[in-house]
């Protein structure tokens, strides 16, 4: 398995080189952007809908882009060994690389619709990645869950974007955000906020949409590392940050982000402690980080914004490192169970060092960047616009739990006594799998020790993007003097160490409590089952498979459609002029009615057919009465032929079974109703003046121009010959179809 970076040939190497080149490119743009000169690139895409492919590289998008492409490079390097020789490696790389590009497009796009396009592309590619283990039910379920939750949120967001674009008069973010006051005062502001937050919260897995993210761990570890550290879930956070200058500061913004963020952070860190699977534990700590970032974005102070920017970097570094590290453990020992793992420091020293460095940053100990991040979080929390006490308490609880979880995940497997026998004899992972975790962890140490490395180049431009002024950025130092954040930090450590010491018994208690409470993940299954049940119920109701019911519905629609419209629109139905109705007319009509009624009542098919023949002959007689003998002759011949031919066919069939049909009186009522409604419409139409333009023309033109004395014939073969052509094809095709039916070799069980 671990046969070095060449295991997959150029398919493995190429994405590493490409993403490294992308990273280098962004790094090259860093000086310019941090000098406050954003790069713009715009190409028309759908000008008539106001959609452009416009990209903006400013402090915010550049930080994200660097994290995405930088971590991406390491992940590709890692995957090439981790999945060496996997039969579906090429697809994996294709999806992962597409995912990375989509993520880059998302953070760089300056057009709302562009953002949405890339947003959905990340959804699709992550679906394919999470479902990489597609032959397991769990893999498929997790992929679907992620797709539906984030997909549905995305659709709400699309509606929000459309409203936002309409409200601002442009889909370009750089134009939308120029006038925040107008935006916040807009009548649709609340709707926009709710819809956009639905998108951001589902993507960034905020409570109550958090449940999909731990399940997304079904993906291979490098994917988890990538999705959870720099990308996918950060998409929602990115969007909130991007919209922060234009939409923040209202009660709706402050409180929804504060509450969702705080709940997510605390709940997730409690659940993280409860996990025994290292990867699952890390998944929950991702939720904690997302909650914290959301919580910070709910505020607007310079401290909170600086904390946001710093913690974003902090988390990306340690999280990617730890995920990759867990992947190494899993790969080399065959398990990720915290209860079994232990004492690996001897066999996997490099991994142990990387894990320790990343874990210390995660726990927020000096001199790691995590420490600075935590100090800033507290500095932001105590000046929170919503409720300093609430925010600080939430941050304290979450951070203390993070200390404990960091101990469990990053230290336990290496330094603790093993709790059981490992499936494989552990040894160090190949270097491409170590490079990523080690580099990222060292980054955490370097940036913490020398904060100026990132302060001017990345943090300040990002904060500048959020607040409009990079100079408001608070300084990043390890020692900020004796102040409240320092005490809070000390309290965090004390509480964290206590929790770590007690984590086994806590975990057992949490597991019991967890098993006793229904989770949203269970509700998800119930929701889908309910949906299926609703669908089945509705479909059984509508698509009953009974032709009579279908016909009844159709005629009912006709009846209601005509009657309701006549009533609603006040159509007057004049009494037709009965003065020239003769006894002959009446007799003919009675004959036809009798024929029709008889046809519906009889149980003999022959009688039914003959009764219909009576109706047809009645029609022919009416043609005679109104002096159209040629039409009448045609009608008579057709009727006779039909009755004879059908009767021959019907002789072989059994009697009609009327007994099984209930509802016959209702059918009769419906039939009379439809007949009456149509008659009423006809009466109304007859009463309108007749426009004889066409008739006059046919009378005048038939002989001199079309050279025919019989106007009907001329109409059929000349004026409207195309109709006749069509009708002739109908007859021929009918014959062909009948021939085909008779000649066919009927199969027994349907066509399959």
């Amino acid at each position: 398995m671990s046969d070095g970076p060449r295991g997959n040939g150029w398919v493995g190497i190429l994405p590493i080189l490409l993403s490294a080149a992308i990273f280098a490119g962004f790094l090259g743009a860093l000086p310019r952007v941090s000098d406050g000169e954003p790069l713009r690139l715009a190409v028309d895409w759908v000008p008539s809908l106001g959609v452009t492919l416009s990209f903006l590289l400013d402090g915010l998008s550049l930080t994200f882009a660097l994290l995405i492409s930088g971590i991406g490079t390491l992940v590709f390097l890692y995957s090439n060994s981790y999945l060496a020789g996997h039969p579906q490696f090429a697809r994996f790389v294709l999806f992962l690389f597409s995912f990375m590009l989509a993520m880059l497009g998302l953070v760089l796009s300056d057009n709302l619709i562009g953002v949405f396009v890339f947003w959905e592309l990340t959804t699709i590619t992550s679906y394919l990645l999470i479902g990489f283990g597609h032959e397991t039910k769990k893999g498929r379920r997790s992929a679907l869950q992620a797709l539906l939750v984030t997909g549905a949120g995305g659709l709400a967001m699309l509606a929000g974007f459309i409203l936002l674009g309409n409200a601002a008069g442009s889909f370009e973010l750089s134009e939308i955000l120029t006038d925040p006051e107008a935006l916040k005062a807009h009548e649709h502001y609340t709707a926009i906020l709710v819809l956009v937050l639905l998108g951001a919260f589902t993507k960034s897995a905020q409570v109550p949409f958090h449940f999909w993210l731990p399940n997304a761990m079904a993906a291979p570890t490098p994917v988890s590392a990538f999705l959870h550290s720099a990308t996918m879930v950060k998409g929602g956070v990115y969007l909130l940050a991007r919209l922060h200058p234009g939409m923040s500061g209202t009660d709706g913004w402050i409180w929804s982000l504060t509450i969702a963020g705080a709940l997510t952070a605390v709940l997730a860190s409690v659940l993280a402690l409860r996990q025994t699977d290292l990867k699952q534990a890390l998944a929950y700590t991702t939720l904690m980080a997302l909650g914290t970032l959301t919580l910070l974005l709910g505020q607007s102070s310079a401290y909170a914004m600086t904390a946001f920017a710093t913690f974003l970097v902090v988390h990306s570094l340690y999280k990617a490192s730890l995920f990759l590290m867990v992947g190494c453990i899993d790969h080399e020992t065959g398990t990720r169970e915290a209860g079994i793992l232990g004492g690996l420091a001897r066999a996997m020293p490099v991994t142990a060092v990387a894990a320790a460095l990343a874990g210390l940053s995660m726990a927020g100990l000096p001199p790691f960047i995590g420490y600075i991040g935590k100090e800033l979080i507290y500095a932001g929390a105590i000046v929170a616009e919503s409720s300093p006490v609430f925010v600080t308490a939430a941050a304290l609880a979450a951070n203390a739990l993070m200390v404990a979880v960091a101990g469990v995940v990053a230290l336990g497997p290496f330094w603790r006594k093993p709790g059981g026998k490992l499936p494989k004899t552990p040894h160090e992972a190949p270097w491409p799998m170590l490079a990523g975790p080690l580099l990222l962890a060292l980054g955490g140490l370097a940036f913490g020790t020398f904060p100026w490395l990132i302060e001017e180049s990345m943090i300040a431009p990002l904060v500048g993007g959020l607040l409009g002024d990079p100079d408001q950025t608070k300084h990043l130092h390890l020692w900020a003097g004796v102040n409240l954040p320092l005490f809070l930090s000390l309290a965090t450590f004390a509480l964290g160490f206590l929790l770590y010491a007690l984590h086994r018994s806590l975990r057992a208690a949490l597991a019991r409590a967890d098993a006793a409470t229904p989770t949203l993940d269970d509700w998800w299954d119930r929701f889908l089952d309910g949906l299926k049940a609703l669908a089945a119920w509705q479909t059984a109701l509508l698509q009953s498979g009974v032709l009579r019911r279908y016909m009844a519905v159709m005629f009912l629609v006709v009846l209601v459609g005509l009657v309701a419209t006549m009533v609603a629109r006040g159509v007057r139905v004049p009494m037709p002029d009965l003065s020239d109705v003769t006894w002959m007319n009446v007799a003919l009509v009675m004959l036809m009615i009798v024929g029709a009624v008889l046809a519906t009542l009889t149980t003999s098919r022959i009688t039914a057919m003959a009764s219909l023949g009576v109706v047809g002959i009645g029609v022919a007689m009416i043609f005679i009465v109104f002096s159209a003998p040629d039409v009448a002759i045609t009608q008579l011949m057709v009727e006779t032929l039909i009755v004879v031919l059908v009767a021959v066919a019907l002789l072989r069939l059994p009697k009609l079974d009327r007994a099984s049909e209930d509802w016959r009186p209702l059918d009769a009522l419906l039939a009379v109703g439809v007949g009456g409604a149509v008659s009423a419409v006809i009466f109304a139409v007859i009463a309108t003046p007749v426009d004889r333009r066409l008739t006059d023309f046919f009378e005048v033109a038939s002989y001199p121009e079309a050279h025919g004395r019989n106007i009907v014939n001329v109409i059929l073969v000349d004026f409207r010959a195309l109709d006749t052509f069509g009708e002739i094809s109908v007859v021929i095709i009918a014959a062909l179809s009948a021939y085909a039916l008779l000649r066919a070799r009927p199969s027994k069980g349907g066509d399959r």
């Binding site: 539906l148 479909t539 509508l542 006040g570 109304a684 004889r692 000349d718 004026f719």
Partner: protein, 511 residues
């Protein structure tokens, strides 16, 4: 100008006759392909002419409108003829691999090409009664195709199909008769002039209901769609595909045509009904799909659901919305036909269309997987595929007129569409095959496989093309919508600049 309009109509019938004469030899199916290539060229020429001139009209038999029958192509008509030709060619190619000698000998290719002729006629005619004739041509030839092979399921579906559609046809004919009684004309351009000027608009609206119901059945809207899920899963896949692509869209086309050009004086009533119909069609269709476990049945119910989107565009009745409907129709035909074609290949490779009995396609037939994802994700409305733009335009149009509820429904149904498409994906492609077999495409013979895959690849490429470069298509749809909402160009081209007084004058005369 007559020939450029008549050619797309004549060619399918000519192809039908020739392929029938050679139905017992391989030449028959080749004639069908060649004829449909010619049709594509003819439709392309017509489209070029329309792009050049706006509206093209021709009087059949040389009788001036409104006395004879007019063929006319505006942007919408020309686009529909073009997309019909594309679908027809794709199906004809697919039929090379899908239709066995037995079915060919029973006249499949003749029936198929007459169907195409009927569809093209419906899109190009400028005469309401003539439209009825093409509806009949379509109905009878589609019935023939539906029962070709005569399995029990086919006959059962065929009976429901033909009965319910005959009711629709009768309603349509009644409507035509009544409208003729009120106006004395059948020419649609003439009707567009005269009907809005009629005195008794209440009666016009009443008669309009007959058209709405008749075309509603054809388009398979709620609650008139029963015939579609009852029959579409039964015939050969080539037949399902062409039905899925084209038939309901003729109904949608007819709805769009008469409810933008002719019945426009009471949109507060008619289009409100259409709006409710659209919403309920979307929901019931997508729930119907969620209840199915067979690829073709899922896809069939999705036709219903998607029809709702198109009707939504018509119902909202703004330029953007109607453009959205037009764009949606074109997008949907390509995508839906393709999905049925792919389902056919999947069944051949994996052994069934029942999702419980198949699987493993992703592993052993990745090409098919990729080809499925394009139309499936397009149907579900994911960018940057054609379906995204279609849905986006309609949702934007709904939000523009504060149609919160219906925009919400459209988005929700989009989410449920994702659910159905991923169900097929997860079951047929991702899941391992329950019998442990590896459903490789090579299980299909080489030549046959090529015929089956070529049209699928072509249609998928078209979906991508529209998705990635939507501007020309959306621009086209916008012009089509303009022409529909202001048919003066259409009327002038058909009737001549000064043939008859315009509606305003008529109204004056009446008063």
């Amino acid at each position: 100008m007559s020939w450029i309009l008549a050619a797309p109509l004549v060619l399918p019938f000519l192809t039908a006759v020739l392929s029938f004469l050679w139905r017992h030899s391989p030449a028959g199916r080749r004639i069908s392909v060649a004829g449909n290539v010619a049709l594509l060229v003819a439709a392309g020429a017509l489209l070029a002419a329309v792009l050049d001139e706006g509206v093209v009209a021709g009087q059949m038999g040389g009788w001036a409108a409104p006395f004879g029958i007019t063929l006319v192509a505006d942007y919408l008509g020309a686009a529909m003829a073009m997309i019909t030709a594309i679908t027809a060619l794709a199906t004809a190619l697919y039929a090379m691999g899908d239709i066995d000698e037995h079915k060919a000998g029973l006249g499949f290719h003749a029936l198929f090409n007459v169907l195409i002729g009927g569809v093209t006629g419906a899109f190009l005619t400028g005469d309401l009664f003539n439209l009825y004739v093409w509806f009949e041509v379509m109905l009878i030839s589609s019935f023939g195709l539906l029962v070709l092979g005569a399995s029990r399921a086919q006959i059962d579906g065929g009976i429901k199909y033909v009965t319910l559609n005959l009711i629709s046809t009768i309603l349509f004919l009644s409507g035509v008769g009544l409208l003729y009684g009120m106006t004395g004309t059948l020419n649609m351009a003439d009707l567009a002039r005269v009907v809005p000027a009629l005195e008794d608009q209440g009666l016009v609206t009443t008669v309009a209901m007959l058209f709405m119901i008749a075309f509603g059945v054809k388009a398979a809207v709620f609650p008139l769609f029963f015939w579609l899920p009852a029959s579409y899963h039964t015939p050969a896949y080539a037949v399902s595909a062409v039905f899925a692509g084209l038939l309901t869209k003729v109904g949608v086309y007819a709805l769009i045509r008469v409810f933008t050009m002719i019945f426009t004086e009471d949109t507060g009533y008619t289009h409100t009904i259409l709006l409710w119909v659209a919403g309920l069609t979307m929901i019931t269709g997508v729930l119907g799909a969620a209840a199915q476990n067979d690829m073709r049945k899922i896809l069939s119910f999705h036709i219903v659901s998607q029809i709702g989107y198109m009707v939504l565009g018509l119902a909202l009745y703004t330029p953007l919305a109607v453009a959205g409907a037009v764009f949606y129709v074109v997008h949907h035909i390509i995508v839906k036909a393709n999905l049925f074609l792919i389902a056919g290949i999947a069944e051949r490779a994996a052994g069934s269309s029942d999702l419980a009995r198949i699987g493993g396609l992703y592993k052993s037939a990745p090409l098919l997987g990729a080809l499925f994802l394009v139309p499936a994700f397009s149907l579900a409305g994911f960018p940057p595929l054609s379906g995204f733009w279609a849905k986006y335009v309609l949702v934007a149009a709904a939000l523009d007129v504060q149609g919160w509820l219906v925009a919400g429904v459209a988005l929700l149904v989009g989410a449920l569409t994702i659910y159905s498409m991923t169900k097929i994906w997860a079951e047929a492609f991702w899941k391992a095959h329950p019998d442990g077999v590896e459903p490789k495409l090579t299980r299909i013979g080489t030549a046959q496989r090529r015929w089956l895959l070529a049209p699928v690849i072509g249609l998928a490429a078209l979906t991508m093309l529209i998705g990635l470069f939507p501007q020309p298509f959306i621009g086209f749809a916008e012009t089509a919508a303009q022409q529909l909402l202001d048919p003066s160009d259409y009327i002038r081209t058909v009737l001549g600049a000064d043939a008859l007084p315009m509606p305003a004058d008529l109204a004056e005369e009446a008063s």
